[in-house]
């Protein structure tokens, strides 16, 4: 990412943080300041989903088109970063649950489904470590991540709705209506956009690093 763009991203994220704490109003029915976590928790969960979809799309391209090292590494990098954000979403969710529900963890369907998603993609890393040959690793991991393209939407959108949940309605509810205070919505969308840009910046860095690592390892014999 070009330097001015990077400064823009930093400025954007700083504004989002300030706005989340000082400009956005508090949501009704939430204890104390706890609703403000929404501006970070939701974008993190969203970015983890974006990351897993990016991994799936790069993997599909790997399988269907030219099998380049770049696509393989880009998929792996997206999953690593996606796992990081999914973990952060889980932790922020647990902190909020502690405040609102007075318990860190209670197997709410949303909590259960993010854990399943985390395990699904953690298994991708286990698979990567278990296959030594580069060609076979690329092929098998790409197939698994492509499978994720189909099952991840299920983990994120279907599984949480199977059963009774205490989790606040997703921003866009079942009727397709947006039901939040306008200023909250602005901050939430700005934060989601910022986090998404942050992901793509991190992803690009991680992919480049992984490619260089691979090249160094190759060159050393």
């Amino acid at each position: 990412m070009k330097r001015p763009l990077l400064w823009l991203l930093w400025g954007w994220m700083a504004t989002v943080i300030v706005a989340a704490f000082h400009w956005a109003p508090l949501a009704e029915g939430f204890l104390g300041q706890s609703s403000r976590i929404l501006f970070f928790h939701v974008p993190m969960a969203w970015v983890s989903f974006v990351a897993f979809m990016v991994a799936g799309v790069r993997s599909l391209a790997y399988l269907a088109g030219r099998r380049t090292e770049r696509r393989d590494q880009a998929a792996a990098a997206a999953i690593e970063i996606g796992l990081l954000f999914a973990l952060l979403a889980t932790v922020t969710g647990a902190i909020w649950a502690r405040i609102m529900w007075n318990s860190w963890w209670n197997w709410d369907p949303r909590q259960a489904s993010i854990v399943v998603a985390l395990l699904f993609y953690a298994a991708y890393l286990a698979l990567r470590a278990a296959v030594a040959d580069r060609e076979a690793r690329g092929r098998l991991c790409a197939a698994y991540a492509t499978l994720g393209l189909v099952v991840a939407p299920f983990f994120y959108f279907v599984l949480p709705r199977l059963g009774f949940t205490l989790h606040p309605e997703a921003v866009i509810n079942a009727q397709g209506k947006v039901e939040v205070e306008p200023r909250m919505l602005v901050v939430l969308l700005a934060s989601s956009a910022g986090f998404t840009a942050l992901f793509f910046w991190m992803h690009q860095l991680r992919t480049r690093l992984a490619l260089r690592e691979a090249r160094l390892l190759e060159g050393s014999d």
Partner: protein, 225 residues
């Protein structure tokens, strides 16, 4: 799909059963596993509830945990053994990948059906459970078994090419099988207790068809370069 394709898939299926009849690895292991686990669970738990409703809640969860663990313990073999004994090369050279997948899927599904046929009546007897709707029970077991077969066949093909296949299989299979387990338990419980499970069965069929379609599309690239 031509009749040639069906014949290839049938040949894979038939050779697995023939080898099984002569050596009896898989069936004996799976069935013994099921019986011992059920007996131990029944002994350890003691009476698990006064009413049939309470008992069927626990028993349907127990039945599916048992089936999942039996699958994880016994089924990676269907591809691991082919790779380890180098017979996989023969299949790669002679058969179409999709026919190999279909044959193996049928073989795994038949093993699971056999396992269910042994484990379910035993569980019903041990936990003293009435069956409100036998038809629904067969449907729940069938749909759950089909999804379990599709997922394990696909993942077994993946892990067979890596190191430490059995552990790896557990890591890969667990997240994929959680939704299946949740749905299958709900469907089984409803069949035993007489509740309505139409939605759950539809979701189970959706899961099955998703994994099967994904399996047929992905297997060729998993199977060979």
């Amino acid at each position: 799909m031509s009749s040639g394709w069906t014949a290839e898939a049938a040949a894979v299926f038939a050779k697995d059963w023939r080898a099984e009849r002569r050596a009896r690895h898989a069936v004996a292991t799976l069935v013994l596993f099921a019986i011992t686990t059920l007996v131990i669970a029944s002994l350890a738990l003691g009476p698990i509830g006064a009413t049939p409703g309470e008992r069927s809640d626990v028993a349907s969860a127990l039945l599916w945990i048992l089936l999942l663990f039996a699958a994880a313990a016994g089924l990676p073999r269907v591809f691991v053994h082919e790779e380890e004994s180098h017979t996989a090369t023969v299949l790669r050279l002679a058969a179409r990948p999709s026919a190999v997948f279909a044959g193996k899927l049928a073989w795994v599904a038949s093993l699971l059906a056999l396992l269910e046929a042994v484990a379910t009546p035993l569980a019903l007897a041990l936990f003293d459970l009435p069956v409100a709707s036998p038809g629904r029970l067969v449907l729940a077991l069938g749909a759950g078994g089909a999804g379990l077969a599709a997922a394990t066949t696909l993942l077994a093909a993946i892990v067979a090419q890596g190191r430490g296949a059995t552990t790896l299989f557990a890591a890969l299979a667990f997240p994929l099988l959680v939704p299946l387990a949740v749905l299958a338990v709900a469907a089984t419980r409803a069949a035993l207790g007489g509740g309505d499970a139409g939605d759950v069965l539809v979701q189970l069929f959706l899961y099955d068809s998703t994994i099967m379609v994904a399996g047929f599309l992905l297997f060729p690239v998993i199977w060979a370069p």
